[in-house]
């Protein structure tokens, strides 16, 4: 699986009206996506006076300052929300990967009765909206006394990400031919050794990319986190509930803060993007 850029060597083509139209469209769409992000970035990294003023400008035409960001991080509950979000996302990544990896391996390596049923039920879980799942889980957590704990949010996020992770990891394993494992065993390695020394290094980048995806999904998730917590809010749940009572500096800085992981991680996983979404959308 490769990105389109590398499938065919770039051919030198004359600059026809068609090519020009392509570039104009590409740049227009890119601007439509980048400009709003740049504006929010400008608002997050300038002085609070600038954020309040009208008309507003964008960097570098307005002073650069960490004032807004420092103000945002100083607001009550933001740092603990940040910590909660990080803990939830990390627990989700670990749980989701640990549970999915064996299942993904089983789907990609074994033909067993019930394999298709298992794949289908995993897909069915994906089809259930978060909204539908959150209320029953909240009621269950209240019953067992897990309500308003970040563990409950992590468990919920694991349910949400598990199907995607299983299918992505299965496709990652499927991309490593079984013959390689067999070859290792022919040369005297045990099944575990050939898995550990041949398969694992090959699948590691793919699994890391899927973990990153899981992290971002958990970091972004707001509905379940709002339903399942009251005091121990994650960052998105906190922001959502304070949105109407807060000023623009808090809102813009918070919004930008929420975006940062996806901006960074999308860069690292862009190679795997098609592999993942190709699988997921099947």
């Amino acid at each position: 699986m490769t990105t389109p850029a590398t499938t065919v060597k770039q051919r030198r083509r004359p600059l026809t009206p068609g090519r020009i139209a392509t570039y104009v469209t590409a740049v227009t769409i890119a601007l439509w996506i980048v400009l709003p992000i740049w504006f929010l970035f400008s608002m997050a990294f300038t002085t609070r006076e600038e954020v309040r003023s009208f008309p507003k400008g964008v960097l570098p035409f307005i002073p650069f300052s960490t004032d807004t960001m420092r103000f945002f991080l100083g607001v009550d509950g933001v740092v603990s929300g940040l910590v909660n979000s990080l803990v939830v996302a990390s627990v989700t990544v670990v749980l989701s990967t640990v549970i999915s990896a064996p299942a993904g391996y089983a789907i990609s390596r074994y033909l067993f009765p019930g394999r298709n049923l298992f794949r289908l039920s995993v897909l069915a879980v994906r089809a259930f909206p978060v909204v539908v799942l959150s209320i029953p889980l909240a009621v269950l957590y209240i019953r067992v006394g897990l309500f308003d704990s970040i563990i409950s949010v992590a468990l919920m996020h694991t349910v949400l990400t598990l199907p995607t992770t299983i299918l992505v990891i299965a496709s990652v394993f499927a991309s490593v031919p079984y013959e390689l494992e067999e070859a290792g065993q022919v040369f005297g390695a045990s099944a575990w050794q050939s898995f550990r020394h041949i398969v694992l290094p090959l699948v590691f980048p793919g699994i890391a990319a899927s973990s990153v995806l899981t992290f971002v999904l958990s970091w972004n998730e707001v509905f379940a986190a709002s339903v399942l917590t009251l005091e121990n809010r994650t960052l998105p749940a906190l922001l959502l509930n304070q949105l109407s009572q807060s000023g623009p500096a808090y809102q813009f800085a918070g919004g930008f803060f929420l975006m940062v992981p996806s901006l960074v991680f999308m860069f690292f996983i862009r190679k795997y993007l098609f592999n993942m979404w190709g699988q997921v959308s099947k």
Binding site: V34, P36, A103, Y110, V122, L162
Partner: protein, 463 residues
């Protein structure tokens, strides 16, 4: 696309089942079980009726049942062995185990209700240690207070104490008050029996009351009716569908254009691809705030308009209470911005599966670019588009944070927001579940509709 067929066929063994068991167990415990329990909430009322019992005891025979809200007449009340914990709202009476001297001077002991003893000596923490028997009011009242063998009006009398007799208080028993009630239900049937007072709210007079809540569950359509009657229900589903109908066609058009641009491989394709797919990983709340920063009256849009001198001294408001259409437009743009990337990635995957030779052949035969898109690319993209359509429709029923960020959730409301409101603001799990079931049914129905639509089309082509 990687095909998921296993690369090997090993002999049948238990290994794959062991490998998938953690995932299965986890999904059973945290998906299937709560899902089942939760969906039941929409049609099952845990507190549908209060059973009335033949005697003031939980083991009493059930003589009838009354739903919450029924007016009842209270005939008698009586303390009874407490079942469960003491809570603040519980109507209780206390009984003291007292020792004292009877009128004949003999030492006696037994249980007396708190109302018959005036406490005169307390420990530091307020525990009563001793007191005197209260005198009885009224001319002909028997001056003697009976002591009973057990803390209950119905227990045998073991001794009697004179009024003002000093007593030492030992053990204390807390009893729950039970009411003997009679209820006339809507259809005129009369039910009478005993019920614990915690389920019946007595009025000031003590002779009348109302059933507060029930203890026994029953299936009911009450919550679904409540949802249908909810004043936000109509606006919510209409807006959800409206947003879907506007967003999805625009989104697919934009996604196909983006995919075609990527497919044309301009210089820096991977850079464009990164930028085009940027919104995919973004939190919907962050995107909501992003578009709020654009459309708020001192935001980017008005700043740009101001720079061109297009607005006067007071910048117009877009996200106010009387600019519903502007809010909808802002939501549409935000959703287009946010969720088009996913569709694009699916479409690009589909485009990659179309052999270059096919397109080159068409080009050789003189097909224009538009003709190639219309007659070759789009028909071949159909399976990818179908997948994307199902995915997007399911996601469209869940728009939530963007709507809250842009419209506050009152002027423009959607189904997910109403689920949240019912759960969070109104604390009504049952109606919230009814909303969840409604969303689930809509998602399922639309998925089945798309799948069937494509299947009938294929059958039509085959015949």
């Amino acid at each position: 696309m990687e095909e998921l067929e296993p690369t090997t066929k090993r002999r049948r063994n238990l290994t794959p089942y062991l490998l998938i068991s953690p995932a299965l167990l986890f999904l059973a415990a945290f998906f299937a079980y709560p899902m089942f329990q939760g969906l039941i909430l929409a049609v099952y009322d845990d507190e549908a009726v209060l059973p009335l019992l033949a005697e003031p005891s939980l083991s009493g025979e059930r003589v009838g049942e009354v739903p919450p809200g029924t007016r009842v007449t209270i005939f008698a009340q009586q303390g009874n062995q407490l079942d469960g914990e003491i809570t603040a709202d519980l109507l209780t009476e206390q009984w003291f185990f007292v020792t004292g001297d009877d009128p004949d001077g003999a030492a006696v002991e037994g249980w007396a209700p708190e109302t018959r003893v005036r406490v005169r000596d307390e420990a530091a923490d307020g525990t009563p240690l001793g007191g005197t028997i209260r005198p009885k009011l009224g001319e002909n009242a028997d001056p003697l207070t009976p002591l009973r063998g057990e803390p209950s009006e119905r227990a045998d009398v073991v001794a009697e104490l004179d009024e003002r007799a000093p007593v030492a208080i030992g053990e204390i028993a807390v009893l729950e008050v039970w009411f003997d009630v009679e209820a006339v239900t809507d259809d005129g049937t009369v039910t009478a029996g005993w019920a614990p007072s915690r389920f019946v709210r007595a009025f000031e007079s003590g002779e009348e009351g109302v059933v507060d809540r029930g203890t026994d569950g029953q299936f009911t359509s009450r919550f679904i009716e409540k949802m249908l009657d909810d004043r936000f229900f109509g606006p919510a589903w209409r807006t959800t569908l409206l947003l879907m109908v506007i967003i999805i066609p625009l989104q697919f058009a934009l996604a196909i254009i983006m995919a075609l641009v990527i497919h044309a491989r301009p210089k820096g394709t991977s850079g464009f691809l990164y930028v085009f797919s940027l919104p995919m990983g973004m939190s919907d709340l962050a995107v909501g705030i992003l578009f709020f920063s654009i459309f708020t009256s001192s935001g980017l849009l008005n700043s740009v308009l101001d720079a061109f001198g297009l607005i006067g001294d007071t910048p117009p408001t877009y996200l106010g209470a009387d600019t519903r259409n502007w809010i909808i437009a802002a939501i549409v743009l935000a959703e287009l911005w946010r969720a088009t990337s996913i569709v694009m990635v699916i479409v690009v995957s589909g485009l990659q599966a179309i052999p270059d030779e096919t397109l080159e052949a068409a080009e050789l035969f003189g097909a224009s670019y538009w003709q190639r898109v219309r007659y070759i690319i789009l028909p071949l993209l159909k399976p990818s588009l179908q997948v994307a359509l199902i995915l997007r429709t399911i996601l469209a029923f869940q728009v939530f944070a963007v709507v809250i960020a842009l419209g506050g959730g009152e002027i423009v409301t959607v189904l997910a927001n109403e689920t949240y409101r019912q759960y969070f603001e109104l604390r009504d799990n049952n109606v919230a579940s009814a909303y969840a079931v409604f969303i689930l049914l809509l998602s399922l129905a639309s998925s089945i509709f798309y799948l069937r639509a494509v299947r009938t089309e294929n059958e039509g082509a085959a015949s």
